[in-house]
């Protein structure tokens, strides 16, 4: 029997397996990210870093809802510059680091990208899709022209591959994905959280201080899967699936829809840090049982079925 390989290549970035943590989930410090890697992830993704430190929104910032989690952290982060040493420390231990980042303007995005590229990040993930800072920062990923411009500006200054992370809160995610590809994106991450809210019947007011928040976890899965499907159909570049992935079967479904790798966030709450190894082992078993030699062998297979 041929040797089964779990490693993947995403736009030139080679990973030992196709799992990563989702941006903003535990990415606030190097020791936590190291623990994610030790939990079995193929690479780690930082908290979205901005040009300046931010405290984020006041609590309540998270509440459990039907089938998932609603959060409005508000992008707390110590600033990209401050986090450079954490990125270097992780890389020094041989851990591939994907630096997620955001800005309020195209210039911000370019400046932060340059800094993180110089810090040695193995890839950049452009967060144009946070639903929790729209009033302050807007959501550039809401339209094609801005998505293309941001991507192009980031590409201009970046050495490593650039992933653009999209929002499901748009009319046609395929159009936005094409715009990112036109701007030079090396891969698309789909998706960020779905905008939602929670109201308390006793207090008769919204629970989150930010009023609205982003839905993640199993409740998001079928929407995220459809987004990956639409994006994979629309672009040539690799797609990274994200949203509600809890076990290997979910991960395989995302791959069949067209994802080359997956990011897992909310599932850590119930599965712990070992969720990455669990998923990787499950994918391995699936490939083996079905006679596939690599992850690549199943990417997009469901697209071919119709």
């Amino acid at each position: 029997m041929s040797q089964l390989s779990l490693s993947v290549d995403i736009a030139g970035l080679r990973l030992r397996n196709p799992t990563m943590n989702a941006a903003g989930v535990l990415g606030i410090s190097a020791p936590l990210l190291k623990r994610v890697y030790e939990g079995g992830a193929g690479a780690v993704v930082t908290k979205s870093l901005g040009p300046e430190p931010r405290s984020g929104h006041l609590n309540p910032t998270m509440v459990i809802v039907e089938g998932g989690v609603l959060n409005a952290m508000g992008l707390p982060n110590p600033g990209a510059e401050y986090f450079v040493s954490a990125i270097k420390a992780l890389r020094a231990e041989g851990i591939p680091v994907i630096a997620s980042f955001f800005g309020a303007s195209i210039d911000d995005f370019r400046d932060v990208a340059e800094l993180l590229s110089e810090a040695g990040a193995d890839a950049l993930e452009v967060n144009v899709s946070c639903p929790n800072v729209q009033e302050e920062l807007g959501m550039l990923g809401a339209d094609c022209l801005n998505t293309e411009k941001v991507t192009a500006a980031v590409k201009e200054v970046s050495k490593p591959p650039v992933f653009v992370k999209l929002s499901p809160n748009v009319t046609d995610i395929a159009e936005i994905a094409k715009a990112a590809e036109l701007g030079g994106a090396d891969a698309i991450t789909a998706v960020n959280t779905l905008k939602g809210m929670a109201i308390d019947a006793d207090f008769r007011r919204p629970i989150l201080t930010n009023v609205t928040g982003g839905l993640s976890g199993p409740a998001l899965k079928s929407v995220a899967l459809r987004c990956v499907w639409d994006v994979a159909k629309a672009v040539e570049v690799p797609v990274i699936g994200c949203g509600g992935i809890t076990n290997w079967r979910d991960a395989v479904e995302f791959m069949l829809a067209g994802a080359s790798a997956v990011e897992v966030g909310t599932a850590i709450r119930e599965r712990g840090f070992g969720v990455y190894e669990e998923i990787t082992t499950g994918i391995e078993g699936y490939l083996e049982a079905n006679g596939f030699g690599s992850v690549k062998g199943i990417v997009g297979l469901a697209q071919e079925a119709i």
Partner: protein
């Protein structure tokens, strides 16, 4: 999910400290050392240790007025409501035949239910109840009724009992008697002193740490200390974990942006 808790009674403990009692099924099943997230609608949500855990009965929170949210809680009256999530985290593991419990300030909140759990198992712990001054000694009656003369009082100003910090009192007791487990909750610098002292004697420690808890579900990372999340891997840390985070314990924490700042109390 967010639940609603109605305050059933308010006990004033000290000029700036109250205990709020409420009924909540999930909190009544908590273990000592666990905490709940308490939401003041229109205001913030903050983590609070459960200071009473009564299977099938009342639970409570003990609050010192140190900021806007705690001030609102301190002004609450019977019939007022708060939102509640939890209980969360890993509480104390009950072990030892001659345990020493060291409380400083509001740290008594999480250690009082632990003392009760020990007594239920037929073990009478030694309890250092320390505070700045006599009027700040919370749950003194409750503990003295439970443990009699195994309660050792300590005040920074010497107005009652041992004069000095709880940690200094603990050092003295560890010199005089032998303990096989040490539990501590209170100001971090006090807990570090207790930990180092117990370490030097080879006594296992469990300490309840405090960091800036936001999500309480182990996802956002804002409460990290080393590779651990206080909200879910803690708040109670055992000696092994405390050794691992010793560089940060008592010295460094993350501010709300994720920058490392000093620990000053």
């Amino acid at each position: 999910m967010m639940r609603t808790a109605v305050i059933t009674r308010v006990l004033r403990m000290a000029p700036d400290m109250v205990t709020l009692y409420f009924e909540d099924e999930e909190c009544s099943k908590a273990s000592p050392g666990q905490y709940a997230m308490i939401w003041i609608p229109g205001g913030e949500e903050i983590p609070m240790s459960l200071s009473t855990i009564n299977p099938g009965g009342e639970s409570s929170l003990t609050v010192r007025d140190v900021g806007e949210a705690t001030k609102t809680l301190c002004d609450m009256k019977e019939g007022d409501k708060v939102g509640i999530r939890g209980p969360f985290g890993i509480g104390y593991t009950i072990t030892g035949d001659s345990p020493l419990l060291v409380a400083g300030g509001t740290g008594v909140a999480s250690l009082a239910p632990l003392a009760e759990a020990f007594v239920e198992r037929g073990v009478k712990p030694t309890f250092i109840l320390g505070a700045k001054t006599e009027s700040d000694l919370a749950f003194r009656d409750r503990l003295e009724n439970l443990l009699g003369d195994s309660v050792v009082l300590a005040t920074d100003d010497g107005s009652c009992g041992f004069e000095g910090f709880s940690s200094q009192c603990a050092e003295k007791l560890m010199d005089e008697r032998s303990f096989d487990a040490v539990y501590t909750c209170g100001p971090e610098l006090m807990m570090v002193a207790v930990f180092d002292e117990a370490e030097s004697r080879g006594i296992p420690v469990q300490a309840s740490l405090e960091r800036y808890i936001k999500c309480a579900h182990g996802l956002c990372g804002s409460c990290a200390i080393g590779p651990y999340r206080v909200c879910m891997d803690g708040p109670v840390f055992d000696s092994e974990k405390l050794r691992e985070v010793r560089e940060d314990f008592g010295s460094r924490k993350m501010d709300p942006t994720g920058k490392i700042v000093g620990v000053d109390h």
